[in-house]
Amino acid sequence: MAPGMDWQAICLSLELATLTTAALLILGLPLAYWLAFSRRRWKFLVEAVVAMPLVLPPTVLGFYLLMAMGPRSPLGRAWEDLVGHTLPFSFEGLLLASVLYSLPFMIQPLAAAFASVDRGLIEASWCLGESRFRTFFRVIAPLSWAGILTGLVLSFAHTLGEFGVVLMVGGNLPGRTRTVSIAIYDQVQAMDYAPAARTAALLLGVSFLVLTFTYALRRHQRKPWTLI
């Protein structure tokens, strides 16, 4: 094991990224389905809200999340009554923030993939007696595998590398909220360049590997060069 690397932070980041991706998949499938197929006039409003984290500075998002989770907000009080500790500066708070921050990275590839499934295939399934719910799992989801894979990979990689939101909402508590990007920042602040370089190289390698893997699997898709 390389000396000086903050393995606790690395493990925490992996755990956070895995749980965030899982939560986003469960949340993302129905939301992306709705965005892809709904004909509501106000759909564009939901689309804009979902895309917000793409353009908002992480500190701004983090600030509002901190306010929303704080002991003076209904959410913060309800959480504290329920589990006994506050939501900010806890792993659960960090998870909630990560889910919101990475939302567009899951929703947009999913919705784009669902919307590009030939409408005639969906109707053919309905005419063969299959409900909308079963049609989703038998036709839409299998034909959208590339979009689902892209959403999973981007959400995972994006959560692994997040910094601003973590700092605002999670702080820097070893073993609870200190993620790998914060560990690197700490090491650089402490002029501890050697472990910072090794940790940074690890993140770079992981990011490159998952993206290479994704593009390789998608290379026969119609537009392999755009992930979203």
Binding site: G120, E123, W126
Partner: protein, 364 residues
């Protein structure tokens, strides 16, 4: 007794287009109702109204005593509840599933054993044995068509909807499959609604004809009646200018067929796959008119039919002569020719047509 299917429904699109599905299927069991008309006439939308893929804005559709759709009462049964087989024009086979999985797709309620047995039956019925593991992308157009038909038949639906079932195939396959398709539908004994813009296909496959134009049903009824007596010029224009009469095949020899229509006998080239009956189609411009009907040594035309002129209609520089030679026949001649011969209503003449200009369409 009420008709098996009564459809009087309408779909209004934004921009003012309206399409109606207004026709009946009188009885259960085998019969083919053809929705016929030029492209853009609303045939496919009418079929989608029946399937439940479009919601009717007005009117109702009742099938076998059940309201599938009733706009006044807010009733709209989804496609899943209608128990029908739908063959879309582009087939829409599931590209990620094998032939066998496509055929068995609608059979999720059966157990694996029953499902495999049903898929096996379909593979045999549609001559797809040996292709069950292939994916749709690895099939020819004709094979895809048969898989799509098999998938629609798998659930033993109570009504079959076919949208241009043969139009994606090359011409020789179309001609071969028309006969096969009608024989198959007869054997399955399912009422069928079929959309086509091809007159020969309509004649060969259909029992009842629904003529559509610009979203409206212009005329519907027995196929021979509609061709015999189009209610207005629009219908006649859509059906084409041909004379279409049903005849009995009397003899086939040397590639030539003798067909009797009423008292007349007509000689024509053998199109192949003829049964006992055929529709005889003749274009007005292929029928010449002569005074006197004795044998003429100086012509290659094989058909000389005694006829009486029942009407003369001016159509620009041409005149349409309606003839009665035991069956109604139309002839299109120049105004000058008509004047030179001094033709008038009631005259006895001879209608002449080349055997090569008589087009036979099998219909049993």
């Amino acid at each position: 007794m009420d008709p098996h299917l009564i459809s009087d429904a309408e779909r209004r699109f934004r921009g003012g287009t309206t399409v109606e599905a207004r026709f009946e299927i009188p009885r259960p069991g085998f019969s083919v109702t053809v929705l016929f008309g030029p492209s853009g006439s609303g045939k496919t939308t009418a079929l989608r109204l029946l399937a439940g893929l479009e919601r009717a804005d007005r009117g109702a559709i009742r099938f076998d005593g059940t309201a599938w759709s009733d706009a006044d009462r807010g009733v709209h049964q989804p496609p899943q509840a209608r128990d029908l087989g739908f063959l879309p024009q582009a087939y829409h086979l599931f590209p990620h599933l094998s032939v066998a999985a496509n055929l068995g797709y609608g059979l999720a309620s059966l157990n694996a054993h029953e499902r495999n047995a049903r898929v096996g039956e379909l593979l045999t019925l549609l001559d797809l044995k040996g292709l069950e593991a292939r994916h749709p992308g690895e099939l020819s157009g004709g094979q895809q068509q048969r898989v799509a038909l098999g998938r629609a038949l798998a659930r033993r639906p109570r009504l079959l909807l076919l949208d241009e079932p043969l139009s994606a195939l090359d011409r020789p396959s179309q001609l071969r499959l028309r006969k096969e398709l009608r024989d198959l539908l007869r054997a399955l004994d399912i009422p069928t609604v079929l959309v086509t813009h091809d007159r020969a296909e309509a004649l060969q496959l259909g029992d009842r004809l629904v003529v559509m134009d610009q979203g409206r049903v212009c005329q519907s009824g027995d196929i021979q009646q509609v061709f015999d007596r189009p209610t207005d010029p629009a219908v006649a224009r859509i059906l084409g200018v041909e004379t279409v009469v049903r005849g009995r095949v009397e003899a086939i020899s040397d590639g030539m067929v003798t067909v009797s229509v009423g008292p007349a006998r007509i000689l024509a080239a053998d199109p192949g796959s003829l049964g006992a009956h055929a529709f005889v189609c003749v274009r007005g411009e292929d029928v010449a008119v002569e005074r006197g009907c004795g044998p003429s040594p100086g012509t290659t035309a094989r058909n000389r039919l005694p006829a009486r002129i029942t009407a003369l209609h001016h159509e620009g520089s041409l005149i349409r002569i309606s003839l009665d030679c035991g069956f109604p026949l139309e002839s299109l001649v120049t105004r000058q020719a008509c004047v030179d011969l001094g033709l008038a209503e009631g005259d006895q003449v001879c209608a002449i047509l080349k055997a090569a200009a008589v087009h036979l369409i099998p219909h049993d």
